[in-house]
Structure formats: structure tokens, C-alpha cells
């Protein structure tokens, strides 16, 4: 589990859990609920470059496709094969087995651009932000 309280958040509902220059990334519980039944994810390839707040993966629900934006810039160090095989993990355990990828950060200072847990909880309460 990447405890929600210890994660940082984008405005597009991705979380990042940073440790030792690597950030694990996934979608928030709010996002998985909004997206609903996730049936396919297209994950980035290992070694792919990411840019903060730019698309690095695609999430498909029955009804629609959504972008997964990288919470930090860097290089993809790992992608969650278990999620690719069973996309429902992102619904069932968005902060655990449903993680998307690990990114070797090129600029850890970017984490300061993200919201902390308390700020994100406030953010999702504002109807205009959804």
C-alpha cells in the first residue's frame, strides 16, 4: 500500500509516492470511482520518458477512455504487469496492487508542484474541479 496520506496529487487525480528518487504512480480512489469499471490500461514502456502532467498511459472503462498523466518527469523504471493483466485492480486497490508505473525522477523538485493529501481532499470537494 502506498498510503494516501503519504502521497502527492495532481489536479487530474493521479498520485505519486516518492522514495529515494523514484516515484510510484497511480490513480486516486476518487478517480477510479469516477471512471468506474476499468477494463483496459495501456501502460508506458520501461525506459519511456515522462513529463509532469503529460499523458503517459491510457485508461479505458466500458464507456470511455481517460488519460493517465505522469505526476512527475523522468524515465519509466517499471510498469505494473499485474495491472495490465487485470485492469480491475485499479478499481479494487488504487493505492495498492492497482499502481500504474514507477518513474525515476529527473527533477524531484517537481513534487512541490503537487498537492498533499489534505489539499487534495479539499480539491475533490469542489464540484467545479470534477
Amino acid at each position: 500500500m502506498y498510503k494516501p496520506e503519504n502521497c502527492k496529487y495532481t489536479k487530474t487525480h493521479e498520485w505519486a509516492f516518492a522514495e529515494g528518487g523514484v516515484a510510484v504512480a497511480g490513480i486516486t480512489d476518487f478517480a477510479q470511482h469516477e471512471i468506474s469499471d476499468i477494463v483496459f490500461v495501456e501502460l508506458p514502456k520501461i525506459g519511456a520518458k515522462t513529463e509532469q502532467n503529460k499523458r503517459c498511459a491510457v485508461i479505458e472503462s466500458v464507456k470511455a477512455a481517460s488519460d493517465f498523466n505522469a505526476p512527475v518527469s523522468g524515465e519509466v523504471a517499471a510498469a505494473n504487469d499485474a495491472l495490465a493483466a487485470n485492469p480491475a485492480l485499479a478499481n479494487q486497490s488504487p493505492h495498492g496492487d492497482g499502481w500504474f508505473c514507477k518513474i525515476k525522477m529527473s527533477n524531484p523538485g517537481e513534487l512541490d508542484n503537487l498537492m498533499d493529501y489534505a489539499a487534495y481532499q479539499e480539491f475533490i470537494k469542489q464540484p467545479a474541479q470534477h
Binding site: S36, V39, F40, E42, V58, E60, S61, V62, K63, A65
Partner: protein, 365 residues
């Protein structure tokens, strides 16, 4: 669509109460889902579910020439046998579809046509125009009725409890009855590929029926279902969606629904054009495709055969029962063989797929 023109069905409050996630659907505020599209889809395939379909339109045709008129505007053979209905296509002079509808005979001089919501006005105007000089009256009664679809293998058990006579109805038959004291209809029809019925009742009675179904259906696994599962269910079962799969510029033969057109019954609007198109050999045909790799195709995705674009998907989604992406689209050439490998372009990448038979899911009704 602005907020001032959005319409609500009699069940709007019931939808909110049941946790419906409301969306604007062609100007109607309707639930896309409740518990989740996959769960709702499975409930209808395995148990049963209910849908608010009050946005659908209802038209009465009454008078001496009612049967002649219904035959004139329908490609299918609509019998004047009280209680009998049939799925049919209303054709324009070019053989294209004005709409796909279900006309029912209530009596020799009284017919009832269930039409699509977005085309209700269009159909009504078309009917009025085509009935010039005929001895009959046409009423657009859509505002007088709500409509609920009860669908799933366990639906007949619930029908037997609530309306015992309705389980005697054969597929596509209708009964006129009082529902909570007001005029109503129960039809053995649906848009999911499962058994069940559709209940057409006054707005107030529709609200009561919804609550009854929720309560009495619980023991059968009944759950409320939204537009999302309605679409995945109908696409798996190979049913057409007017406006996406067929329209004024596509004919029944191209849509692979040539069986609807019954030339032997006599004259009807669009007959000549439709048969001419068939005789000349159709140039495109609505064809089913299934992905052979992960991904979810969407309407508008291009279809490639040996590197050449041969069409676009009209309807496409993830099939909850098959666990893969499926879709239908007009393909030219029209004679692709089942299993033939193709590619579907999704997010700029071509994903392997194959030609798939339609229906995708073998239904029992």
C-alpha cells in the same frame, strides 16, 4: 443542448434515489449507470434488471385505414391480429431508414407504434405526411406515458407475480391493461437479447411500477440499470442503434437486417429503392469485429484490411461477457469472411482484430 431544454422522465427522482449517475442523453437527463456497467450487464444476463426507457416515444394510429397505413410505412409485414407486434423499419423513398420501430396491433383499427426518442417528432411528422387522404387519426402520445424495461432470464418470474397474464405473451406481443388504474401496456419486447417485457404506463403509474419492481425483484437479483449497460447488452446481441448504426442514408440490407424487408406483403414506401439496392449488390455491409488483443474500440475507429482502410466503427465497446473489445461498422467490401484478420485503429495504433459474427453473444430469446 442547454440546461433549459433538457428533459426529465417521470422517473427522474427515482433514478436519483437509486444512485443513478445522470447524463445528458440526446436532451434527456438519464442515468448512465448505477452500481457499474459490468455489474448491471451481468445482472441482466444472469438474473434481471430494470431500465428507465421513458424517453422512448409512443404513437397511436386509429381509424378505418389504420392497418393500410401501418403497412404503407413499414417494411415488415404488420399483421392486423390484435396483440401482435413486430420489429420493423420505416423507410424513406430512397430505401434508407426513417427509424426502426415496433408497431403493435391493438385491434383491426387501432395500432400502437413504439419509436426511438430522438426521432419521435420526425417519425410523427413523417406519419402525418404519409397518411394524407387516409381515414385515420395519428396521436403522438409520448408525453402521456413512461416506460420501463424489465429484462433478464428471471424477468418472467417477476412478471408472473405482478401481472400474471403477461407471462402468456409471446415474443413481440402486447397486452393492453390497467396499470395502477390507468391505461397501460405490457409488451414482450426488449433491447438486451434477454427475455422480459416493457411496461408502458401513465407517468404516475410508472413511478409506482418502478418501486414495485425494485422491491419485489430483489429476491431475483434485480438491480436498476443505466444507459451504459443498455448499450453493451444491445451491441452484444446485435441490435441496431438508430442514429449510430442506421439512418436515412443506410438501408436494411446494408445493415444486415434484410429479413425485415418483406416485399411479398404488397407496396410500402421505400420498397422499390431497397430492392433495387439489393439487386444491384450492396457496396457496404454492417460487419462485426472483435479485438484479438487488449484495448477498447470506440465509434469512429478506422477498420483496416491488409493495410487498406475499409470503414469505420459505428458502435463499439468492451463486451463484459466476452471480455474483449467488440464493434460493428460498415465495411466495403461487404463480403468479409468470419475470422478474417483486420486491424482497428485505437489512439493512433492499429490493434489486431477479426471479423466476428453478429450477434456476438448467442441469446436465447
Amino acid at each position: 443542448m442547454t440546461s433549459t431544454t433538457i428533459r426529465r422522465t417521470p422517473l427522474y427522482d427515482s433514478m436519483l434515489k437509486a444512485g443513478g449517475r445522470m447524463v445528458d442523453f440526446h436532451g434527456w437527463e438519464l442515468p448512465v449507470q448505477f452500481s457499474g456497467i459490468i455489474q448491471e450487464h451481468r445482472a441482466v444476463r444472469n438474473d434481471c434488471g430494470i431500465f428507465d426507457v421513458s424517453h422512448m416515444g409512443q404513437v397511436f394510429v386509429t381509424g378505418k385505414d389504420a392497418h393500410a397505413f401501418v403497412q404503407k410505412v413499414n417494411a415488415n409485414d404488420i399483421k392486423d391480429i390484435a396483440g401482435r407486434g413486430a420489429y420493423s423499419h420505416v423507410l424513406n423513398e430512397r430505401g434508407g431508414l426513417v427509424d426502426d420501430v415496433i408497431p403493435f396491433c391493438l385491434s383491426k383499427e387501432r395500432f400502437f407504434i413504439v419509436v426511438n426518442s430522438a426521432t419521435t417528432e420526425k417519425d410523427y411528422n413523417w406519419f402525418v405526411k404519409q397518411s394524407a387522404g387516409m381515414d385515420l387519426k395519428i396521436e403522438n402520445a409520448s408525453d402521456r406515458f413512461g416506460m420501463i424495461a424489465l429484462q433478464g432470464p428471471k424477468a418472467p418470474q417477476l412478471m408472473a407475480e405482478l401481472w400474471p397474464d403477461s407471462v402468456k405473451l409471446a415474443r413481440f406481443w402486447i397486452m393492453e391493461t390497467k396499470i395502477h388504474g390507468e391505461q397501460g401496456f405490457i409488451c414482450r419486447t426488449g433491447y438486451t437479447g434477454e427475455d422480459g417485457c416493457e411496461i408502458i404506463a401513465s407517468p404516475a403509474a410508472t413511478v409506482k411500477v418502478w418501486d414495485e419492481l425494485l422491491e419485489k425483484g430483489r429476491k431475483y437479483g434485480l438491480i436498476p440499470c443505466g444507459l451504459g449497460s443498455r448499450d453493451t447488452l444491445r451491441l452484444e446481441s446485435g441490435y441496431l442503434l438508430y442514429g449510430s448504426d442506421v439512418d436515412d442514408d443506410h438501408n436494411s440490407f446494408e445493415a444486415n437486417y434484410g429479413w425485415v424487408v418483406k416485399p411479398k406483403k404488397g407496396d410500402f414506401i421505400g420498397k422499390e429503392a431497397a430492392l433495387k439496392s439489393k439487386a444491384a449488390g450492396i457496396k457496404r455491409k454492417l460487419t462485426g469485429f472483435a479485438l484479438t488483443q487488449g484495448g477498447v474500440p470506440r465509434p469512429g475507429c478506422a477498420i483496416y484490411l491488409q493495410g487498406q482502410k475499409i470503414g469505420e466503427l459505428c458502435s463499439a465497446t468492451f463486451s463484459p461477457v466476452l471480455g474483449k473489445g467488440i464493434g460493428v461498422g460498415y465495411a466495403a467490401p461487404p463480403d468479409l469472411k468470419e475470422g478474417e484478420p483486420v486491424e482497428i485503429e485505437i489512439h493512433g495504433r492499429r490493434i489486431p482484430a477479426k471479423v466476428n459474427r453478429v450477434p456476438f453473444y448467442e441469446n436465447k430469446v
